[in-house]
């Protein structure tokens, strides 16, 4: 749901053309890169990422924090970026799906497991689902199936029935380190 380009006369890029209050200089670290953008303080972090920073891997499924397609890590914690106002992201460290893979040639073990086990079908929930899995595995490196079900319950998937997603997360626990795309595993 982008609006105008960032060079527009509104000097902002996030659905805020008609906002009248002053804009802020938002400073945050995104995928390891210090970033500054001028946005309305109540602009959604989702729009800041997608429109100001052109990180379109973060998706909008419902816009009200129910589906988890917009999930990102904010200071390591899983949040729905559609519910986070820009001001709240000031000075934080944000990880989006674009920041998960260690390099252009390799996938993170969770990403690789989703490819191998059929954890992604249409792919629209996948970025949020992978970040939810990353958050789960950080706090619980060897989850049980019940813990996986609980850990992913905030991320909706309409394609898979979740079964292959559970397999993917378990596979990722068994894997260590990054693997090359299409490599052995």
């Amino acid at each position: 749901m982008s609006t105008h380009g960032h060079d527009s006369h509104h000097a902002t890029t996030t659905s805020s053309g008609t906002f009248t209050r002053p804009l802020i200089e938002l400073r945050l670290r995104v995928n390891g890169i210090d970033t500054v953008c001028v946005v309305h303080p109540m602009a959604r972090l989702l729009d800041v990422l997608r429109e100001s920073l052109h990180l379109s891997g973060t998706k909008e499924g419902c816009g009200e924090g129910e589906c988890g397609a917009c999930a990102v890590l904010l200071n390591g914690e899983l949040v729905c970026s559609c519910l986070v106002p820009a001001l709240q992201a000031m000075g934080t460290e944000v990880t989006t799906i674009e920041g998960v893979a260690p390099s252009l040639a390799t996938l993170d073990r969770v990403q690789q497991a989703f490819v191998d086990c059929g954890g992604a079908q249409c792919g629209i929930c996948t970025p949020g689902m992978i970040l939810a899995a990353k958050a789960l595995l950080t706090r619980c490196p060897q989850p049980t199936e019940a813990e996986i079900r609980e850990g992913l319950a905030g991320n909706l998937c309409r394609c898979t029935g979740y079964t292959k997603i559970f397999s993917s997360v378990l596979r990722a626990c068994q894997a260590d380190g990054a693997t090359t795309e299409g490599g052995e595993r």
């Binding site: 609006t3 105008h4 659905s15 499924g61 909706l156 979740y162």
Partner: protein, 841 residues
């Protein structure tokens, strides 16, 4: 049935929680380098056939099939998987304005102004102050250069209303502005003057009023009698058959509207070229449906309309018809604004405005002998089609053709009707009418068993159809069918018989207050046996005459061209497997071309579980012909008929191109000569083949909260050759989860013809915490009659048919109630207990 596992179980699989077990016939320890050898071996295995009895079936573990070979029966990684897990796949809302070389950097964002009433006459449109209206592009019906309708079966649905409003949320006008916030605000400042008319919101009411003798203009809202389509299937002599029965069973069954709820909302990006040609990029299942619709709206020839599918975040039927509407709106806006336009719905708009599964009502009356023999079935099947015809007649066909179930019965009548109402048009949703009618017949079978004093298993086994017998249309089953074997396997996997007996006992004790800490808990286990016709109904495939092209460029790269879309189900991967296997090439040598009407022929819509069986078959045939052409050309590097290296293939292609200029093969669907269907009489081979299945659900009902939880699920099916075991299991698991929602969670709250709960917070779909463990098993049957690649049949829709009735049959055991309506939410169950309490005094 004897099942023997082949190949050793892989280590990873032992640690899997998924319980998924699948059939497949491929060895496990394989990598990319061996892909071609495997392909050759697989081809030989496929062409040799072998004995084709059920007991030759082999079963291996799902994850064990995660081999790298791009052979049919292997499970190579999804082709576009890496882009999807990286977040690099581009969905329509991710495209910048100049993505397809439009040369523009600023878009105009469109919003749709919709009717607040279910029926009325639009008198005038006013624009209230508050936004700079001179900057806003306003598109009305008067801006349509061609026909003001969305072309489909009957051109009754306007693109934008010009007078009579026939349902709530019907599109009236489009507003566009470069700033989406301004466009949104403008939407709230449109003043509509509408003279309301009384709407018809009930399907039976509409059928009754449409045919009453003194029907007036408020009674007849569509055509001459409010009926989109009606047909009757007749077999034997139903009227006379009642004389020979011992027991009659009757029941009424209802299913509700269900939202497809793909996670990517619908959206389109459009531009109009200086020459007036129209290009649309977006989230859709059927590029040529949109193409036909835009040709009519813009009055343009075929070559002046181009439709491109962007990555699509789920469809399930929901992106079959409605994308034509959004594409037309977006392109009209682009035309008037003179720059690219984009319309992306938010979740609320997507849910309230786009199509849903047809609500249904079914009355079934059956006659039985004391020994459980099914003598006669009389079925009345009705669908609420909503305000316009869309695809209702076809949905009705599939529903009616599945209504009698997979049972041998000499005397059958199925009367089917689709009614017009002033509800938003209902449309395609995975299963396409069959989940509705299968729910009815499978609940009815359990009720009949209870009345006959037989077990529901024995009753099914006595009546399940076999090869050589006929279905309701008189279709003789010439393929191998052994439903009893599927049922036995599902019973064994689920421990059905023992659990059924134990739950009866536990529920009885609990009801007597002997349940201890579980006094408020009831459990049940239920079954459904069913079939799903693969491909288009009746003569559909004959009319479609689908085409696929396979060609090679100068680098030797093979391009597979079809309009069949990847919507998550695996089209890219399956087509690659088929082409790689037949051409003996690695997957990288195959490009599955993105569906773009300027680049691909019309291989038909991506619906009806037809992509693998029908279109995959065309891909296979085209690849075979291309290979034959290269081999027979016999110049340059000689290409052996069997066994060559990719470099040799490339050299042969280059030699061929040097001499002939192009190397391209187009194949067209050829109707099997022995498949005969009579559209008028509803007699004959309704489908070329069927998938067959037996599902078992186990549930727990909490009598404090009235929640029903599905504890375990077993899905056993025969779908012909399983081309990709992981994708196939993913189809079943995802379909079962949607079926759980259809049965227990997903309820549309209608208020005066409008959806009142168009949010994910109040329309509830299953989460990871709600789905049961789903154990999937495929029983493969070598079936020489099957024409899909390697003998594959359809799969995608099948799991929607049997899941809900299996669950409700389990809830019926748990509660002892007659529960014949879905969705069954806790409040519905509470009400059912209250009713039963009243009935029992």
């Amino acid at each position: 049935m004897r099942i023997r596992p082949q190949g050793k179980q892989p280590r990873q699989a032992e640690k899997q929680p998924s319980h998924s077990r699948l059939a497949g016939a491929r060895p496990q320890e394989t990598d990319c380098a061996n892909a071609q050898l495997d392909a050759v071996a697989a081809t030989q295995a496929l062409t040799q056939g072998g004995d084709s009895a059920y007991d030759s079936g082999v079963k291996i573990d799902a994850e064990a099939s995660a081999l790298r070979a791009y052979a049919i029966g292997g499970s190579p990684p999804r082709r576009e998987g890496p882009e999807k897990v990286r977040g690099q796949a581009l969905y329509v809302d991710d495209l910048p304005a100049d993505f397809y070389g439009t040369g523009e950097v600023e878009l105009v964002h469109g919003v749709t102004v919709r009717s607040p009433v279910a029926r009325g006459r639009l008198r005038a449109i006013g624009f209230l102050p508050g936004v700079p209206w001179d900057e806003i592009v306003v598109v009305t019906a008067a801006d349509i250069p061609g026909q003001n309708h969305i072309a489909l079966l009957e051109n009754d649905q306007p693109c934008l209303v010009s007078g009579l409003i026939n349902h709530a949320e019907e599109p009236l006008l489009i507003l566009g502005h470069p700033d989406r916030v301004i466009a949104e605000r403008a939407r709230t400042l449109v003043r509509l003057e509408i003279d309301p008319l009384p709407p018809q919101l009930d399907l039976d009411d509409s059928l009754r009023r449409g045919t009453k003798p003194d029907a007036g203009p408020n009674d007849v809202i569509w055509g001459k009698d409010n009926v989109f389509k009606t047909f009757t299937i007749e077999k034997g002599d139903v009227a006379a058959a009642w004389a020979g029965v011992d027991v009659i069973v009757e029941g009424d069954y209802e299913t509700g509207a269900q939202e497809q709820l793909y996670i990517e909302p619908q959206g389109m990006l459009a531009r109009v070229r200086p020459d007036g040609s129209v290009e649309v990029f977006g989230s859709l299942q059927c590029p040529y449906y949109v193409h036909a619709a835009l040709m009519a709206v813009f009055n343009l020839p075929a070559d002046k309309v181009r439709i491109v599918q962007t990555e699509t975040g789920g469809g399930f039927g929901g992106k079959e018809e409605y994308p034509s509407m959004i594409a037309a709106h977006t392109a009209l806006l682009a035309r008037k604004a003179g720059r690219p336009a984009k319309i992306v719905y938010d979740r609320l708009e997507d849910m309230v405005a786009t199509t849903k599964r047809h609500p249904s009502r079914t009355h079934i009356k059956t006659g039985w002998r004391h020994d459980g023999t099914l003598v006669v079935q009389d079925i009345d099947f009705r669908l609420d089609g909503g305000a316009y015809m869309t695809l209702s007649p076809v949905v009705l066909s599939r529903g009616g053709l599945h209504a009698a179930g997979p049972y041998a019965c000499d005397h059958v009548r199925v009367r089917a009707r689709a009614a017009a109402t002033n509800m938003p048009p209902h449309g395609a949703f995975r299963g396409f009418g069959a989940p509705q009618s299968v729910f009815a017949i499978e609940r009815h079978m359990d009720e009949a068993a209870a009345k006959l004093g037989m077990s529901e298993i024995a009753l099914r086994k006595k009546n399940l159809v076999r090869d050589g017998q006929t279905l309701s249309t008189g279709q003789v089953l010439r393929e191998r069918v052994d439903m009893r074997a599927l049922l036995d396997r599902a019973l064994a996997l689920s421990g059905y018989e023992a659990k059924r007996a134990r739950y009866d006992e536990e529920n009885r004790r609990a009801a007597q207050g002997q349940g201890g800490m579980h006094a408020q808990r009831r459990r049940g286990i239920g079954v459904a046996t069913f079939m799903h016709g693969a491909g288009f109904t009746g003569s559909g495939e004959r009319y479609l005459a689908s085409k696929v092209t396979v060609d090679c460029d100068a680098t030797g790269q093979v391009h597979v061209r079809a309009s069949s879309t990847e919507i998550g189900q695996g089209t890219n991967t399956i087509f690659t497997q088929i082409a790689a296997e037949i051409l003996g090439l690695p997957p990288d040598a195959i490009t599955v071309v993105r569906p773009d009407t300027s680049q691909v022929p019309n291989s038909g819509p991506t619906v009806a579980s037809r992509t693998v069986m029908v279109v995959g078959g065309l891909v296979a045939r085209a690849c075979q012909q291309l290979k034959t052409r290269l081999v027979e050309a016999g110049q340059g590097m000689r290409l052996a008929a069997a066994g060559y290296r990719p470099q040799q293939f490339r050299a042969a292609v280059q030699a061929y191109l040097a001499q002939h200029g192009t190397l391209s093969v187009t194949t067209e669907y050829e109707p099997p000569p022995d498949v005969q269907w009579d559209d008028k009489a509803y007699r004959g081979d309704a489908y070329a083949t069927y998938a067959w299945a037996a599902y078992v659900a186990e549930v727990e009902v909490d009598l404090v909260t009235y929640e029903t939880r599905v504890l375990d699920f077993v899905a056993v099916q025969e779908v012909g050759k399983v081309v990709h075991p992981i994708l196939a299991a993913g189809q079943i698991e995802g379909g079962v989860a949607q079926g759980v929602g259809f049965a227990l969670y997903e309820k549309v709250a209608w208020r005066e013809g409008r959806m009142a709960n168009g949010q994910m917070t109040n329309y509830i779909m299953p989460t990871s915490a709600d789905v049961p463990p789903i154990r999937v098993e495929f029983i493969e049957v070598e079936n020489p009659r099957l024409r899909g690649p390697g003998g594959a049949k359809g799969i995608g829709e099948l799991p929607l048919d049997g899941t809900a009735p299996a669950i409700l049959n389990a809830v019926a055991q748990a509660t002892g109630l007659r529960l014949n309506q879905i969705p069954l939410l806790p409040e519905d169950l509470l009400a059912a207990y209250a009713r039963a309490g009243l009935e029992n005094g």
